[in-house]
Amino acid sequence: MNILIFVLLNLLKVAVVTVIFLMAVAYTVLLERKLVGRIQNRWGPSRVGPFGLLQPLADGLKLFLKEDLMPTAVFRPLFILAPIIALSCALISIGVIPFGENIRWHGVDMFQIADLNIGLLVILGVTSIGVYGIALSGWSSNNKYSLLGSLRSSAQMVSYELALGLSVVGIVLRTGSLRLRDIVNLQNTHGILSWNVFGGFQFVAFFIYLCAAFAETNRTPFDLPEAESELTAGYHTEYSSMKFAMFFMAEYANMITVGCVATVLFLGGWSSPFGNLFPAFGGPLVQALLPVFWFVLKVFSFLFLYVWVRGTLPRFRYDQLMGFGWKYLLPIAIVNVMATSLVLAFHG
Amino acid sequence: MTVPIVWYLILSAALFCIGIGGFLIKRNIITIFMSIELMLNAVNLAFVTFANHWHQVSGQIFVFFVMVVAAAEAAVGLAIIISLFRSRNTLNVDQIDLMKL
């Protein structure tokens, strides 16, 4: 009986997290359209529902009801497989991210799906598999724009993965563990002062992570793979209807995942920025939900930054992008790792 | 319920033999290269299995080194393949049988 409750609770947890995640993806799209609208001095979507709040629903319905075109020259199995790979890789990573304190109910961790010893590596691994979605979509479309987009994208993602991986090494060195809960627990002693980005002196690493994350998720200023002014739409030129929607959702899901990872690694995860400055208030329910609130707030500010950058910066040229990744980010990341380990060796 | 260690070893042997088969039969140089990677993977599985059986970490260290060397080998090998394709315009090993480029 006990094991049945355990399994049911876990399934429930996975379902709830997935639904909330997908809702968050839909509303990130709205957030982006609203914010970019404001930056460009216009309203953004405002017709569907109050303040345009039902716009994601309308978008989803539209994409779902559109005709699913299958171009004649495509390589069919891979053409269908590619968006599935992209979306599923984007959705898996959320499974290892902790949202709140380790509060157990019937032996089930309430605020994390799976607490793994190697959680950080799982996220890096899933990100590296995600490249195939884009690479295969471009190749199987049999279209020169798609192929160019996906060639650019695979080269870009593989190059920036190195910088991304090296930027988090400093934090792993500080924590001595790859478990995401350990990483957060190290940061929640003195509020904002003990966050890795400030107290851990990892701001250089944070900057590298930020650049690499923008490149990994193919967002402006590194959105070369879908640069619409030169490649029509890049790797998803030939896609329509639900298959296009899957790529679209994958992009925004990746944004949220990157935001969650940045929050956990650099911004103290679910810990409050004030530390123990204020005495605990409210009942146990408030105490359990307050960390989740901080977590969501941090992820939200990260997404805000994403959209802000998109509204502000122009696109890089391809050779500039590669040069930036290999000549600047990678050496700086290596220097950061060396500096962190030297400091830890003499003071740690 | 335990899995017999021997099953892992037989799986590893089967993968290794399929790798040799691919190496001999395939004509595309990239696929031949992939067969070599398959053989390396099969050996890795055997290493991890023995590490598990003898409760030794060194078996896994071997796999670690094999992975590193395989990465280096793949980079150089694919670079050779690219320069070969540039000069010969084919990937068929039967047409790449001269000693010079």
């Binding site: 691994g125 593989v158 | 037989i10 399929i18 004509r27 990677e37 890795n44 992975m67 280096a72 150089v76």
Partner: protein, 164 residues
Amino acid sequence: MNVAIFILFGLLCLGGAMNLLLQRHPINSALSLIVVMSSLAVLYLLLGAEFLALAQIIVYSGAIMVLFVFVIMLLNAGEEERTHGSRAAYLAGIPGVLALFTVLASTFLTLRISFGGTRLGSFLVTTGDLSRVLFRNLLLPFEVTSVLILVAILGAVVLARKEH
């Protein structure tokens, strides 16, 4: 549970490896090899090698195979041609491979009793255990491999560069 996972992913491995052999287009072979490597990662987890499982995914499926797929896409050489050069391989190779497999399998089967069985959790190597051995006892080989990688990077750049 252990047995079910082993059989599922073992069959995936074998199926992927056979598919690599049977497909004519290199990109299909590359994809089946990715399936093999990812299922091997699951088997590593089952054998208690958690770091290696993820290293397998990151290094093999995520980096090496992306390189392969990238090169296949770049060269876009199309399907493999059938030529006569492979006849000798068919005649001598396949019986040889089968014989090798029989020898290996029968050797392993005779050792069946002494090897015994394993299960998830009977032996777990954490990242800490692995790095302790790697950085204390095997530091020199580790450093030498990093030099090897550096040489390989230089070699790859020189080889793949276009001549002017």
